[in-house]
């Protein structure tokens, strides 16, 4: 997609304005300069309104029509609000337009009432413009609404992307960029289809089956609700953890508490090590139980058997001869039943070998001999088992003591910190910070227990669900229609499972691509000792090498914002590469998208602004940037001067005077505005 021209009519403070976007390959950036409140965010909203009918304004969210136009109208007059975009997509020229008609209801009505609205999309076909039958759908296919946050980008959101709640957003973004959610849509449809077949089963089913189906549906609803609860609690836990981290970082930075905080860290490390060792000893105990745990209990059985066999031997029930095959097996094994080694050439070997003779008494006798022969071995194993288990238990007990001791020391540090009255920059005392940290720690533990409780509930419900599904499968007294619908339902569920698997694989593949690109982009612009990555859990992390260690960089720093931008850029790039690639992909077709960014420099300092300026042109084929003068001047201007294709200035008149209303004009020359 390439955007060519945007026309605004009576859209908020824009009465009749036009922007033609830079489309060159070298000079692909369009810059719109504007002071705070001059209409930058309104321009971003013009795109989302045109495409999806959505706007997000901080002030007067209901007022779409120009205040000036409404003021000049008479009650009963109609005002047309319109946004039109000319663009090219996949080799075709398009004109998309959204119009809304507002009627002024009274002399003091400046908002108007919307009485009609329409969206139209025309495309050029053989030299003439043809309308698209389903314009809303066409636009949503070109840039799906779910992708709009990526391509129509508000710089103020950048913190959020790099912040603690980013996991879901990053996953969502990756999901969205992939083949424009074909798979997900298919999945949703299959779910609906399976549900519809289930309705059909229900319709033809016996009362009993029908009851089972409603039970199943109720349980499915419960599971969904539990999962939502769990995800909410998980997010709460992550937020608490981040708050704890913040508090601890504060304690680390303060001279008075730094040493204590450091000591606490050491104790924690020791504690973690002790816990690891305890785990490892637990593993050893398990291994002992698995291998030899049966021996002490089996010992009396073997003894009893041996005594009875001896009795039988004495009574002559078991003869005292050996079979040749048994003697051979002993010689092959190199060990006598009494445990002595049997090495060829030794007296003992010869004696055993000489027992091969004429008498053949296979089976029972050999088995009896084996059992008796094992008595010694079993006895040794029993002692070994108890000796090693006792030793492990003793070691573990010592570690338990050490663990208690460390926990106590950690508590003491906390008490000591809580007793410190020195006031920090934030106005709180160290004691208060620590008390807050403790409280957060409790909350964290509570949320962990809560998650475990919910998980358990989900598991129980899943079991109930499985059992119900089995019962439903086993129902035999159904009519042919129900059986057919049931088979179809199963087929839909099966395909859904398969698709879900492919979807997850593909998502991970895109994560890996994105990760690779972020690393490259980040390497090019950020400091040498920093690296960025998207983890397996879809978290955007930045690491700093400190000595031999790698530590995570604090959130809300410039680096994080740059990484966030690099992430968005990586997705746009992936989509473009997939689109241009020859390789066939059933699901992931990609596409070419422009990037429209409102204030991507946020509140960055000079150095970081320079770095971001370097990244921006590489983010997409076509980039539109809205910026204030203070964000623009200096490093940003220096870096971007040579790649700007078009430049505009928003000239805002707040309309303070009598009969005047707020209005923004879009000018191509800065000087002319200043001169006015």
């Amino acid at each position: 997609m390439q955007i060519d021209r945007l026309e605004l009519e009576n859209f908020r403070q824009f009465r009749d304005e036009t922007i033609a976007f830079a489309t060159g390959s070298d000079r692909n950036v369009t810059v719109v300069h504007g002071a705070n409140g001059s209409g930058k965010t309104t321009l971003l909203n013009a795109f989302t309104w045109l495409f999806y009918g959505n706007v997000d304004f901080d002030t007067r969210p209901d007022r779409l029509a120009s205040e000036g136009a409404m003021a000049n109208a008479q009650p009963g007059d109609r005002i047309t609000v319109s946004v039109q975009l000319q663009f090219e997509h996949e080799g075709e020229a398009y004109i998309a337009q959204r119009e809304a008609i507002y009627e002024k209801r009274s002399a003091t009505d400046f908002d108007g009432e919307m009485i009609d609205s329409e969206v139209t999309v025309k495309y050029r076909n053989n030299g003439s413009w043809q309308p698209r039958n389903n314009p809303g759908n066409t636009l949503d296919q070109i840039i799906p609404e779910r992708l709009s946050g990526l391509f129509f980008f508000d710089g103020e959101d950048i913190d959020e992307l790099a912040g603690i709640d980013n996991q879901d957003r990053i996953q969502e973004a990756i999901q969205n960029i992939m083949g424009l959610t074909i798979l997900e849509r298919a999945n949703r449809h299959l779910d609906t289809v399976a549900g519809r077949f289930e309705d059909e089963v229900d319709e033809y089913a016996s009362d009993e089956l029908s009851e089972l189906i409603s039970e199943k549906r109720a349980i499915e609803d419960d599971i969904e609700e539990f999962k939502r609860d769990r995800d909410d609690t998980q997010r709460r836990k992550e937020r608490i953890e981040s708050e704890i981290e913040d508090l601890e970082q504060k304690l680390e930075r303060l001279d008075e508490s730094a040493a204590l905080q450091e000591r606490r860290e050491e104790y924690r490390e020791d504690l973690a090590e002790v816990e690891d060792r305890i785990d490892s000893l637990d593993e050893d105990i398990k291994s002992q139980i698995s291998q030899n745990g049966f021996v002490p209990l089996a010992m009396p059985l073997l003894k009893e058997t041996a005594t009875e066999l001896d009795q039988m031997r004495e009574e002559g029930v078991i003869p005292s001869e050996l079979s040749n095959s048994f003697v051979d097996s002993l010689l092959d094994a190199g060990q006598c039943i009494c445990g002595r080694p049997l090495e060829p050439g030794t007296d003992h070997y010869d004696k055993v070998a000489s027992m091969r003779g004429d008498t053949v008494a296979d089976g029972v006798e050999q088995s009896a001999i084996r059992i008796i022969g094992h008595l010694n071995e079993v006895s040794d194993k029993e002692s070994e088992f108890f000796d090693s288990v006792d030793e492990i238990i003793e070691q573990r007990k010592n570690l338990y003591d050490r663990r208690d001791e460390l926990e106590e020391l950690i508590d003491e540090v906390s008490s000591e910190l809580q007793g410190m009255n020195q006031t920090t920059e934030s106005g709180q005392s160290i004691g208060e910070l620590e008390a807050k940290r403790e409280q957060k720690e409790t909350e964290r533990e509570e949320s962990i227990s809560e998650i475990a409780r919910i998980e358990e509930r989900i598991e129980r419900k899943q079991e109930e669900l499985e059992s119900l599904e089995e019962q439903i499968d086993e129902q035999q007294d159904e009519r042919e229609e129900a059986l057919l619908a049931k088979r179809r339902q199963k087929a839909a569920e099966l395909v859904q499972d398969e698709l879900e698997g492919s979807f997850e694989d593909l998502k991970d593949q895109v994560r890996q691509w994105s990760n690779k690109m972020i690393k490259q982009t980040f390497d090019d612009i950020a400091s040498k000792d920093l690296t960025a990555e998207i983890t397996d859990d879809f978290e955007l992390k930045i690491w700093q090498d400190v000595g031999d260690e790698r530590v995570e960089v604090d959130k809300s720093t410039g680096e994080r914002q740059i990484a966030s931008l690099a992430f968005i850029g990586s997705l746009v790039n992936i989509a473009r590469e997939r689109y241009e690639s020859d390789s066939d992909s059933e699901y992931f077709t990609g596409g070419i998208y422009p990037l429209v960014m409102d204030s991507p420099f946020g509140a960055l300092d000079k150095d970081h602004r320079r770095q971001v300026s370097k990244v921006i042109p590489s983010l997409a084929n076509q980039v539109v940037v809205f910026a204030t003068d203070s964000q623009w001047e200096g490093p940003v201007e220096e870096e971007m001067r040579d790649i700007i294709g078009e430049q505009y200035w928003l000239d805002f008149d707040s309309g303070e005077g009598e009969g005047e209303y707020p209005q923004t004009r879009i000018a191509t020359e800065q000087a002319s505005i200043r001169g006015d």
């Binding site: 637990d282 105990i285 398990k286 291994s287 139980i289 698995s290 291998q291 745990g293 049966f294 021996v295 002490p296 209990l297 089996a298 010992m299 009396p300 059985l301 073997l302 003894k303 009893e304 058997t305 041996a306 005594t307 009875e308 066999l309 001896d310 039988m312 031997r313 029930v317 078991i318 005292s320 050996l322 006598c336 039943i337 009494c338 004696k351 055993v352 027992m355 089976g363 029972v364 088995s367 009896a368 001999i369 084996r370 059992i371 008796i372 022969g373 094992h374 008595l375 010694n376 071995e377 079993v378 006895s379 194993k381 029993e382 002692s383 108890f386 288990v389």
Partner: protein, 160 residues
């Protein structure tokens, strides 16, 4: 022809002790352990010891796996002999497999009861059970020592 299969009762206890907490490496390790528990407690199940597919308790173990450990082979023979008092049971694989399953099903109830109050990892509870129930007379001494010796010497022709 496939290998002989031991059919036994496999309840959630197997999932818990083998899969979840990995106290036993294989299902058959637990199977044998439970059988000696059954013997020890004198608990044997004569019915439903093979599990049933209706409640998902049908378990199967290859005899070859159980025989991979020499001592398991011995335990199976002893259980069968103890159960039947017939020396032929020492070599009758079918009897041994069935007896193992019967004792194991008995032992299963004991251990289920034993760890029913343990919410998390039951390793220590299992260990306590073993320690509490080990035979009083450890080691081979007295009469048994003599039996071993006499068998050894007599069978091997080392009698003076």
């Amino acid at each position: 022809m496939g290998q002989p299969i031991i059919r036994y009762c496999k309840t959630d206890l197997y999932d818990r002790l083998v899969d979840e907490h990995e106290i036993f490496e294989n299902y058959y390790d637990l199977l044998v352990f439970l059988a000696v528990v059954g013997y020890h407690e004198n608990k044997i199940k004569r019915n439903n010891f093979k599990g049933s597919s209706s409640d998902g308790t049908k378990g199967e173990a290859g005899l070859r796996n159980v025989h991979s450990k020499e001592l398991y082979r011995t335990v199976m023979a002893c259980l069968a002999f103890h159960h039947t008092s017939d020396p032929e049971a020492l070599v009758d694989a079918d009897t041994q497999m069935e007896t193992l399953a019967k004792y194991s099903a008995g032992g299963l109830e004991v251990i289920e009861q034993e760890i029913s109050d343990v919410a998390g990892d039951p390793t220590d509870a299992i260990l306590n059970y073993i320690e509490r129930n080990q035979g009083e007379d450890s080691g081979i001494s007295g009469e048994l020592g003599k039996i071993v010796e006499s068998f050894d010497d007599q069978m091997m022709g080392f009698e003076e």
